[in-house]
Symmetry: C2
Subunit: 154 residues, 2 copies
DNA sequence: GTCCCTGCAAATTTTTTGCAGCCTT
DNA sequence: AAGGCTGCAAAAAATTTGCAGGGAC
């Protein structure tokens, strides 16, 4: 799976909603678009802020409710990245996170082997995956080599 | 690595503290012991509650501060298990979590292959691991087979 | 004796919820 | 027209912080 275009994502969302008699609202589309276009791993707060600079006001309550919904659909995934609040991102090709405790940088890792292995583990446990999140917390190469400058990767 | 005994854990904690000129207090030892003895994946709230039935009162502030510290030392790991607050557990042998979205059950998975793979990924990225957390969210075998009864695994 | 740690209390941050009216279907 | 969805406002839940006194070393 590659990063879906906004069109693909919207199609998938509409389908999910229609199937359950739910409504496709401008707020839901705006939030989906916002996360799709965001580089990095925005929090609910960041999504709300970003939207507030656009033409459509969306309340925090709706942002939270919609992010939950989008995770439900499988369009987004959610992780904490070592912080005390959630971060969201497009559920694109399978990737994992190395999070540096010193500088906060988030390194994305793509590993087909990891993907295969996770698939196998789920199969062995008769478990149907919706989403997954691997976070490895530690110290990145820069920080291990003495470069301590803050360089937040998100 | 296997689950450390309380003695091993205490030794490791004392060493960590001594090295940094920090104090080894009864509160810190009590919290460490509490997590060690807890079956499952307690939250800060649960630790505080549990302690309050013992002889030593420990404030929430101290519970939060100490859990942070214990994660720092590498004695505990922290994950959200799909919820909006943190859960803690002993950093024992490498294992991952399958979390059922329907019944909340947490299935622990041990995979030497996964461990090797994660080690390799870290090495390739010149990344020094402190802790890690793999959460796979989906539907467990029971729930997929129509058994919807609530059966929280913690 | 030094200075780290604790409890307290309050503040902050993050997430959830009830309700009345609006909007999608 | 029906009923899901939104904003509002408030509540709840989770986490952090400043400070004065107590305790570890």
């Amino acid at each position: 799976m590659v990063v879906p275009t906004y069109e693909e994502a919207e199609r998938k969302l509409r389908k999910y909603l229609a199937l359950r008699g739910l409504r496709c609202t401008v707020e839901r589309l705006a939030i989906l678009k916002e996360v799709l276009e965001h580089k990095g791993h925005p929090s609910a707060e960041e999504i709300a802020l970003q939207l507030s600079s656009g033409p459509l006001y969306v309340s925090r309550a709706t942002v939270y409710r919609t992010l939950d919904l989008l995770v439900e659909t499988g369009l987004l995934t959610c992780s904490t990245l070592g912080e005390s609040h959630r971060h969201y991102e497009v559920h694109a090709d399978h990737h994992d996170h190395l999070i540096c405790r010193s500088c906060g940088r988030v390194i994305e890792i793509r590993s087909p082997e990891m993907e295969k292995l996770q698939d196998r583990i789920c199969k062995e446990n008769d478990f149907e995956t919706v989403s997954h999140s691997l976070e490895i917390i530690g110290y990145c190469s820069r920080c291990r080599n003495g470069d301590q400058r803050e360089n937040k990767g998100d």
